[in-house]
């Protein structure tokens, strides 16, 4: 393919060359097991400790509160299952939202099958959790509130400071899935009263299959993977040293470049949103107008279906994603788009474009021009558009 414009950075990002370079020696040169006694392995142990410090610093946490996992999904599973188990003598009620990632939703469903009660909060039309709803959902037996920091589909930022405060005041644990937010916006665990936080390497130009769970000191969460004494006996398994080094390097880099990078992304994002809304009829922006991730744009185009749109974009070398049923592998379109109140038809016609650090204005101009042509072409083919035009003639 000659041209590739990658606008699916919420799905995954390119591992930065600087990150790969930092990882490489840990495969072939310093490959020792960090648990070993001999001097040869010492470098590995210190590398792991060093990355823990880097990550802790980025969150305003202590290094001993960072537990490496094999990615965001594992961190989410761990947080929910272990918190439920550890605190079930206090109660069996958990609060989360309807717009969480499936790593949370399916884990919550699993816990329901184990006798826990879960409240799934609605969100408003922008995808924001209503604090009044949350307040009303809190019960004496509520042990955990899990609300994502930022939504992966529509980019909406949740009011985590207020949610954390509410949880704290009521003596309830607060978990947040920050997989999309971490590295894109400043996150501080104390300012938001966060007890548990999930993050993943591959969303911030780090490697795939590595992430971490932050567990606040004093939170009595037990082991998720049983075995050796790694990760303070809470997550067994020989450390993925290259992955951890990659993650740490990516976090350091993300923190360093955050301000400049996201300022540029916000500007480009708003340029993209502005032009699409102005130049393509029967189109809407999904998610909050301003309280959204710097790199996220999510549109719905009426009368057309998302998978068709994605294939046509792919033919022009453009990578995006959609919440249509055909791309979710089920009969229903995205649960997030339905939760913000979109009718099925409009949800099927959605397109998420998530910019990366290399995205340029020229890229976006090409994307917008292609999009105009593709949307018009698909509408020409759409019986829904035909009916609409005839009815409104």
């Amino acid at each position: 393919m000659e041209k590739l414009i990658y606008l699916d950075n919420a799905a995954t990002t390119k591992t930065a060359p600087e990150v790969v370079e930092a990882m490489l020696p840990y495969f072939t040169e310093d490959y020792g097991n960090p648990s070993s006694v001999y001097g040869f392995a010492a470098k590995n142990k210190s590398a792991v400790d060093e990355q823990r410090e880097v990550i802790a610093e980025a969150l305003g946490a202590d290094a001993r509160e960072i537990y490496f996992t094999a990615g965001g999904s594992e961190a989410d599973n761990w947080a929910l299952k272990a918190a439920a188990e550890a605190y079930e003598s206090k109660g069996r009620h958990i609060i989360t939202t309807k717009i969480e990632h499936h790593a949370i939703l399916h884990t919550a469903e699993y816990l329901e099958s184990r006798g826990f009660e879960v409240t799934y909060l609605d969100v408003d039309e922008n995808g924001v959790v209503r604090l009044d709803d949350l307040r009303a959902a809190i019960r004496p037996d509520t042990i955990l509130i899990s609300v994502m920091y930022a939504n992966n589909e529509i980019g909406t930022l949740e009011p985590v400071v207020e949610i954390g405060k509410l949880a704290h005041e009521n003596g309830i644990l607060f978990h947040t899935d920050a997989v999309q937010a971490f590295g894109q916006i400043p996150v501080n665990v104390d300012a938001c009263h966060i007890d548990l936080l999930s993050a993943s390497g591959h969303k911030l130009n780090g490697p795939k299959g590595i992430g971490f769970l932050y567990i606040r000191k004093g939170v009595k969460i037990r082991s998720f993977v049983h075995g050796g004494a790694q990760e303070r006996k809470r997550r067994a398994g020989t450390e993925n040293v290259p992955g951890i080094v990659g993650l740490g390097t990516a976090v350091k880099r993300a923190v360093r470049t955050m301000e400049e990078r996201t300022e540029k992304e916000r500007e480009l994002r708003d340029y993209l949103i502005g032009r699409v809304l102005a130049e393509i009829p029967y189109c809407r922006l999904n998610g909050h107008g301003t309280e959204r991730l710097p790199n996220n744009a999510n549109f719905s185009f009426r009368f057309i279906e998302g998978e068709s749109l994605l294939i046509r974009l792919d033919m022009k070398g453009i990578c995006g994603s959609s919440g249509s049923a055909c791309t979710s592998g089920s009969l229903d379109p995205s649960h997030v788009l339905l939760a913000i109140g979109l009718p099925h038809e409009t949800a099927h016609g959605s397109l998420r474009l998530t910019l990366g650090e290399d995205t340029t204005r020229e890229d976006l101009d090409y994307v917008i021009d292609s999009l105009k042509e593709i949307v018009a072409g698909l509408r020409e083919m759409s019986p829904l558009y035909e009916d609409y035009i005839k009815k409104n003639k």
Partner: protein
């Protein structure tokens, strides 16, 4: 994920459009599930399908199966058109991923719905043709949104 034939029909769909005063029109599917197909037939006095057009809202497979179905019935007699099953459409496209098989069923149903419409208008009976499942929701779930 799709065969080269499917991609070809998606990229260059045959017979897209409408036929004014068509002999028969059939619309099947629903927007809720994400596919709607509409087939227009122009049938001459010898019951030969002189022309056929389609419009489809749906995924790549939905577009490709509609396109292929129109190719398969064009120039055929009504009875021959009745033999164009979803299997025939799939075979002509060198297969479909399992999750997309329903698209080929929809294409078959769309042809049948258009023939049913024609039969009703001309008060004739087509052997083997059954009343199409009326699962399209006209006007239901109207959009309230402002764009």
């Amino acid at each position: 994920m799709y065969s080269a034939k499917v991609m070809d029909h998606f990229e260059h769909p045959r017979n897209v459009g409408e036929i004014e005063n068509a002999s028969g029109v059939g619309t099947v599917g629903n927007a809720k599930c994400g596919d709607i197909m509409r087939i227009y037939l122009d049938i001459d006095e010898n019951q030969i399908i002189r022309d056929v057009k389609f419009k489809t809202f749906g995924c790549g497979a939905a577009v490709a199966t509609s396109s292929m179905a129109t190719e398969l019935v064009k120039g055929k007699s009504i009875q021959e058109a009745m033999q164009v099953t979803n299997k025939a459409v799939m075979e002509a496209l060198d297969g479909l991923p399992p999750v997309k098989v329903h698209c080929s069923l929809l294409a078959e149903e769309a042809i049948h719905a258009a023939l049913w419409d024609y039969a009703g208008k001309h008060d004739i009976k087509i052997e083997g043709l059954e009343k199409p499942k009326a699962d399209i929701h006209e006007g239901e779930e109207e959009e309230e949104e402002e764009y």
